[in-house]
């Protein structure tokens, strides 16, 4: 069982409501779900869609082929019918009493059905939900539960209306669909899976790691993190502030971090550009900070609501001068969740900027999980606190130590003064210019830390054929899911594996897992990236001296989809 549903229409027509409800219903039923969104940079109108895939098995990508198209306007039919499976069906709001062409079409007057059921225009959305559930023959009980939860704050009347509308939608298709048995379902193994997207995972990871301050300036696709944290602000005591610009955002976060708490900011490429001076400031002052950089297609404003992996080089090298940093590039919401935790831990442990780099695609796609293993989370307060400070005779913010880490005190918590400086400075934090101190600070701040940091980085994951694969698909970040499924498919015909990097800077060492050896022995290595120039491919060569034998790049602002990627890979083999 593996079905895909696409809800298509204009911005503002409610397709997000429908999509979100379906995802929740299916995952509560215990199915594995994968959703992704494609939307334009406008508030009303245009052409958007929301795609939901469901299966009883774990899935991690969107497919090109769809089984159910819900066309909220007539143009959507033409735009998407080529993607329809031969057994698929299009539910559409009829305009005039046009004839249905064939059994692939089912005119469904969502609004009218809602009204007939005693509801209003807005309830057309739940009619669509009901209709889809009806096509699969799902019982509506779980769906009703979810409607009730999501409308908990509304009146009983409204809830009742929605339930009726959903029932009416289901009834309608069950009565009018010419081939009702086309979608066979199997029962899910267990019910109640967790449905979470990348943005939520980063946000939840941050809260569970003790973030207390988040300053940012709105920018798609990073705004979701801010919205998520703002939603938790009161309950979890998090200060969330919208800055006047991104420069202010990162400097506020550095101020908050200096003052003694865990701070974070988030942005996209254009906003990150404005933050780079602040990143450098974090570097020389050794102020911990976590930065989520959510990529979208550039340059400049580019395609603001779409996806791309084109800021890798920029995030690794952004900021003048030389200082240590860590760049994590999770590939799934689960990885993103742990990446957030690791980011806060490393940032504070090493007093450095740590990046969680993701993109619109990972941010918006929802995945299902049984649960996250919370015992894998770590939390340790690395700052000197009251009692540590009270015992200290002397305090120097930048005391030289062999491991590069100086004691970090909280200003005001004791008589000791905490002095930090963007100039090169001595152990006390005061401005200096002599060569000797400069060298000592560099050796401490940069060299000693980098050496230890290298050991903190997890090696890439090898998936598929694990003993001497002939073909290796090399990738990082959000392409994880689709390439993983591609390996499942192609693995039947080839000796093939995926090598996925979810931590890219410092580049993973070989001692734990000698992936370089695999790459060298493979007959063919294909570096697959959602960008035009192959930045990861270049990084691999820069860091490891290894060149992949070929590249697949997509740079039209869209994510890779399963079938077309499989096809492209086949062509290289």
């Amino acid at each position: 069982m593996d079905y895909s549903i696409r809800i298509a229409g204009e911005a503002g027509q409610g397709l997000q409501t429908i999509g979100a409800a379906l995802g929740k219903i299916f995952s509560r039923l215990g199915y594995h779900v994968f959703t992704h969104q494609d939307y334009m940079s406008r508030v009303r109108g245009g052409h958007n869609y929301y795609q939901i895939r469901l299966s009883e098995k774990a899935i991690s990508a969107s497919r090109d082929v769809i089984h159910i198209l819900v066309a909220l306007n007539i143009e959507s039919i033409d735009m998407h019918r080529l993607s329809l499976h031969s057994d698929g069906i299009i539910l559409y709001e009829p305009q005039n009493d046009e004839e249905e062409e064939d059994e692939q079409f089912l005119a469904t007057a969502f609004t009218q059905i809602a009204k007939d059921a005693g509801g209003n225009k807005i309830m057309a959305n739940v009619v669509a939900v009901g209709a889809i559930l009806g096509l699969f023959g799902f019982d509506l009980q779980v769906a009703e539960e979810i409607i009730k939860e999501s409308l908990a704050k509304k009146s009983g009347e409204i809830i009742e209306g929605n339930l009726k509308a959903m029932q009416a939608g289901s009834d309608y298709v069950r009565k009018n669909c010419r081939k009702l048995d086309r979608f066979q379902t199997v029962e899910a193994e267990q019910d109640n899976l967790m449905l979470i997207n990348g943005v939520q995972a980063i946000g939840a990871g941050a809260v569970m790691s003790g973030v207390r301050f988040y300053a940012a300036y709105p920018m798609t696709p990073s705004t979701g993190i801010m919205v998520y944290l703002a939603g938790k602000a009161v309950d979890f005591g998090i200060i969330v502030e919208q800055a006047e610009d991104e420069i202010s955002a990162i400097n506020m976060a550095l101020g908050a971090s200096y003052a003694g708490i865990r701070a974070m900011t988030g942005t996209s490429g254009g906003g990150f550009a404005l933050m780079t001076e602040g990143v450098s400031l974090a570097g020389i002052t050794e102020t911990p900070i976590v930065i989520a950089e959510m990529q979208r297609p550039g340059p400049a404003t580019g395609l603001p609501t779409r996806t791309e992996q084109s800021d890798l080089d920029f995030v690794i090298h952004g900021g003048h001068g030389e200082f240590p940093r860590v760049v994590l590039t999770p590939g799934t919401p689960e990885q993103a969740f742990y990446a957030a935790n690791k980011a806060f831990d490393l940032a504070e442990k090493y007093q450095i900027p740590v990046f969680i780099q993701a993109d619109q695609y990972l941010g918006d796609t929802e995945w299902t999980y049984r649960d996250f293993d919370l015992s894998d989370l770590s939390y340790k307060d690395y700052r000197l606190r009251h009692k540590d400070l009270a015992e200290l005779k002397d305090y120097k913010r930048y005391a030289v130590s062999s491991d590069g880490i100086s004691p970090m005190a909280v200003p005001g918590e004791s008589r000791h003064l905490v002095v930090v400086d963007s100039d090169e400075h001595d152990e006390d934090g005061h401005i200096i210019e002599d060569a000797e101190t400069r060298i000592r600070m560099f050796d401490k701040r940069l060299h000693a830390k980098m050496e230890r940091l290298r050991k903190e980085i997890s090696p890439p994951v090898l998936y598929g054929e694990r003993t001497a694969p002939e073909i290796i698909l090399v990738c990082f970040g959000s392409t994880y899911g689709v390439i993983r499924e591609a390996v499942d498919i192609l693995g039947k015909d080839y000796s093939l594996a995926m090598l996925h990097f979810s931590e890219v800077y410092p580049f993973p060492a070989l001692n734990e897992f000698d992936y370089a050896d695999y790459l060298r022995k493979a007959r063919s290595t294909v570096c697959i990236e959602n960008n035009a120039t192959g930045q990861f491919n270049r990084l691999l060569r820069a860091e490891m001296g290894i060149a992949c034998s070929s590249r697949i790049n997509r740079y039209d602002g869209r994510p890779f989809t399963l079938e077309s990627l499989v096809e492209e890979i086949r062509q290289r083999l």
Partner: protein, 284 residues
């Protein structure tokens, strides 16, 4: 009571005769008189001659980027409003590179005192025009003379209803100490623009130049009257007023509206990851 010596920091690298020396001395005196312990004080600065001040004072210090002192101070204030917070900055640092933050920190009404060492010039970078330089001023980088009108920080602050707007002069230390004290005591964002002659690069707005022009706002000046304050802030010429132009306590202070601070400063609040686990429930 604290002693001025308690605040002695590194040896200043300013030019002999620089107005910053008086400013620093007055600040030490103010802090001593107010008995603010160095460790309860955080001084934030950007980059410039003025911005070096935190090194020359014993205090907690964040000497950040050129133009970016105010956001850093805002972040500090929002998580730990219990600290005494000062920003020392130059006219270029604050009104040039940092102009946007000047506007928005004021709108936030961050509880802090902002001391702008206004020498009407870029000192550290050797004599370029600053926003407060007079229009037409020539310099090595202003071949046609400074093309912009002279920025008026006081009138701008009054235009946005800033709760404490003052101007001082390092040549009148007692008065300056009074302004500094009132600014630090004011609950909310307080601006003190301070005339600080740069002996090396500003050959027009010299100590003498200021001395000749500066006079005190009259005792009768009603600092609560916004229109009057605005009017007085526009005075510039043979006579230039110093003093507290505008002052009120009408505005909410930024941290008044932050529920997470109800239990005290955030750095003092413990965090227990166990108490956050319910956060995942909504995803089921």
């Amino acid at each position: 009571m604290a002693d001025e010596k308690d605040y002695t920091g590194q040896t200043p690298a300013w030019c002999p005769g620089c107005g910053n020396f008086s400013l620093l001395a007055t600040l030490k005196k103010t802090l001593a008189a107010m008995d603010i312990p160095p460790h309860e004080l955080i001084v934030v600065s950007g980059i410039g001659q003025a911005a070096k001040l935190p090194h020359y004072l014993r205090c907690n210090a964040f000497n950040g980027l050129h133009g970016r002192a105010l956001p850093v101070a805002t972040g500090i204030s929002m998580v730990n409003p219990d600290m005494k917070l000062l920003v020392t900055t130059g006219d270029g640092d604050c009104y040039g590179e940092g102009g946007n933050h000047f506007l928005h920190a004021m709108r936030r009404n961050v509880n802090m005192a902002l001391f702008v060492h206004n020498n009407q010039i870029y000192g550290l970078t050797k004599g370029q025009a600053s926003p407060t330089s007079r229009q037409g001023m020539k310099s090595k980088t202003q071949p046609f003379g400074s093309l912009s009108s002279q920025f008026n920080p006081l009138s701008m602050a009054i235009s946005q209803d800033c709760g404490f707007v003052a101007r001082g002069f390092i040549g009148d230390r007692e008065h300056l100490q009074h302004l500094m004290t009132e600014a630090i005591n004011h609950r909310g964002f307080s601006l003190v623009d301070i005339f600080q002659p740069c002996v090396s690069f500003n050959k027009v707005n010299t100590f003498k130049w200021y001395k000749e022009r500066v006079y005190h706002l009259e005792e009768e000046h009603d600092a609560g009257d916004r229109m009057k304050a605005f009017q007085r802030s526009l005075e510039w010429g043979e006579k230039i007023p110093v003093g507290i132009f505008y002052r009120h306590d009408n505005n909410r202070v930024l941290t008044d509206d932050l529920p997470p601070l109800k239990n005290g400063p955030l750095p003092l609040q413990d965090f227990d990851p166990q108490e956050t686990t319910q956060i995942l429930e909504e995803f089921y």
